[in-house]
Symmetry: C2
Subunit: 348 residues, 2 copies
């Protein structure tokens, strides 16, 4: 009982340390992106509206706290000392790389809404959005170089390459109604899993964690990333724009087949499959009416394909949690567990 | 006489060493960009068609040869030993950053032709072009991290940020008929001069050059870069597509005012200025007929504005040459002089 209370108290300390660290990450992000050119600075400030849950910075910070060699022996009130300046920088780098992909995604998706606000591409045109995304990538690498850690730089470079190849693979399979689950997972591992895995790993690396602990954090992040993307894809199919905070139904409109649809097509019999393909084809048209995607959703329900995707995401969260078994049972690890659970238990 | 011949012979050796080094740069570029995903690899191979003069890699190599502490005492047949593996990597990095901007520029410019071939955006769509550009940037940074030189990484990161801010500044002043020369120079210093300056500086840095020699190379590159961009802008106004090898007349079509036009508007009297603005406005329309830009060219000639731009470019080349005064008078320095002269004395 006393132990449980102590863990709960530790949990509050972790929340406080993380909130404080995230505030510093926001400052580092903004100050590094600030421009001496007023016209550029105005555009850059629009990126603030894209800021969401800050999942990747949270993972850097919580990963650092949970894997630090002194994690188990540091009292709650001293936890903040485990987070160094490099954690703040690494967290800002991960968020910048992520933001760059959001800005470019909006160009690719022709999306109108992001985090409940107008997108850069819609407000300032595609050209501004392309260059702003480039500026975010450049800033991320410049900031990353300040870490003076070749390992971090190589990791961020490699992950950025993987993200692009994942996007290109996805583009290649657009409109491919025979795409299989393996290809879907290859796409989301690269485009989403890799950076979230790197966030966890960077947190551990800059805490001086053991190689085993760093690997555990990378694996935790990669499983969490996949679960997160599957939930995103489910929300794009069944979510409401005003709740999700970004345009929904974009995947079908862009002929992007995600896990529920892939599962459905693989499990329906020949006749139903034919009908589903026709329904999907209708929903894939650029100006498809809302009924078209509603019809697809009903067909997905018939094969339990939304439920299947949720089950897969849940299993990935379980794998993520299991990856942290070797770590000391600290409040920071509890925070990571909570983040994993939240990834699939969210409406946005 | 004997001395002149010896210098000429040395010049041939420098040419040979550079040709050999550029071959290695091409290999490093291609192998670093190669993907394990066939769909991605096919797209990446299209970048080869973008390859042009390789000005930036040439500057890294020639800069390394000209500033090496043993530059003056190394016999011609041993010159190759002054170029290390890091020079090849740094040169490939500079070319990748440049290629990324070319690919994204074609999205922004809606250009059809680049280096005499179809652009990625035209062949595979804007989405593929945006992600391919991102992949090039990511690859450049990943490769740059392999140098294990924080100074190089910070330089490439800073320069990439400057390039983006230059592009954004240019975008901001699109359709601004009162843009002045100072703003034009600020734009081209960032978007073109910075990377060419960095190429020279990286060549010197990785040759173990003195800080003075590295600064001289950076200044040489920055002046050369400005001259190069002015010549590019002149060619866009007066060049022929089949000679220049890329779409011409794009600047006016995108309401981008360059040095000759800015000079003309500043030097014409009020009445002529009014007429010119009308002519420029006609040429700035998306579907302007060829006569429209021809009319602008005639008006530019009336104020000698093309000649003015060429004079400015020539003066910048002279400044570039003067920057190399402190370097030993080697054949490599002659090669740099020749590159500077070629920048303004070209039809493409």
């Amino acid at each position: 009982m006393i132990d449980a209370v102590r863990r709960f108290e530790g949990f509050e300390e972790v929340q406080r340390v993380m909130a404080c660290a995230l505030e510093r990450v926001r400052d580092r992000f903004d100050s590094h992106l600030a421009s001496d050119l007023p016209a550029v600075d105005r555009l850059v400030r629009h990126v603030e509206h894209y800021r969401g849950k800050m999942l990747r910075p949270m993972l850097v910070i919580a990963g650092g706290l949970a894997t630090h060699p002194q994690a188990a022996t540091t009292p709650g009130e001293s936890l903040g000392s485990l987070i160094g300046d490099d954690h703040i920088t690494a967290a800002a780098v991960c968020e910048m790389v992520h933001m760059a992909t959001l800005v470019h995604d909006d160009v690719l998706d022709e999306a109108d809404v992001r985090r409940g606000g107008r997108t850069v591409s819609r407000l300032h045109g595609n050209e501004a959005a392309v260059i702003l995304g480039d500026l975010l990538i450049a800033s991320a690498y410049h900031l990353c170089s300040q870490l003076d850690s070749q390992r971090s730089a190589l990791l961020i470079g490699r992950v950025s390459m993987e993200m692009c190849s994942g996007e290109l693979l996805q583009l290649h399979h657009r409109g491919d109604y025979s795409i299989d689950e393996a290809t879907y997972f290859e796409i989301i591992r690269r485009k989403t899993g890799a950076l979230i895995a790197a966030s966890g790993e960077l947190g551990a690396m800059h805490a001086g964690a053991s190689p085993e602990a760093a690997r555990a954090m990378a694996w935790f992040g990669s499983r969490l990333g996949l679960a997160f993307q599957i939930q995103d894809d489910v929300l794009d199919l069944i979510g409401r724009e005003d709740v999700v905070g970004k345009s929904v139904g974009r995947d079908l409109a862009k002929s992007k087949l995600t896990l529920p649809v892939i599962h459905h097509l693989a499990s329906a019999d020949a006749v139903e499959r034919g009908r589903s393909l026709a329904a999907i084809d209708d929903a894939c048209r650029e100006d498809a009416p809302p009924e078209a995607s509603r019809a697809v959703r009903q067909r997905l329900d018939a094969t339990g394909s939304i439920a299947h995707a949720r089950t897969v995401a849940g299993a990935l969260v379980a794998q993520a949690r299991a990856a942290l078994d070797p770590l000391a049972p600290t409040a920071a690890r509890e925070a990571l567990f909570a983040m994993a659970d939240a990834a699939v238990d969210r409406a946005r």
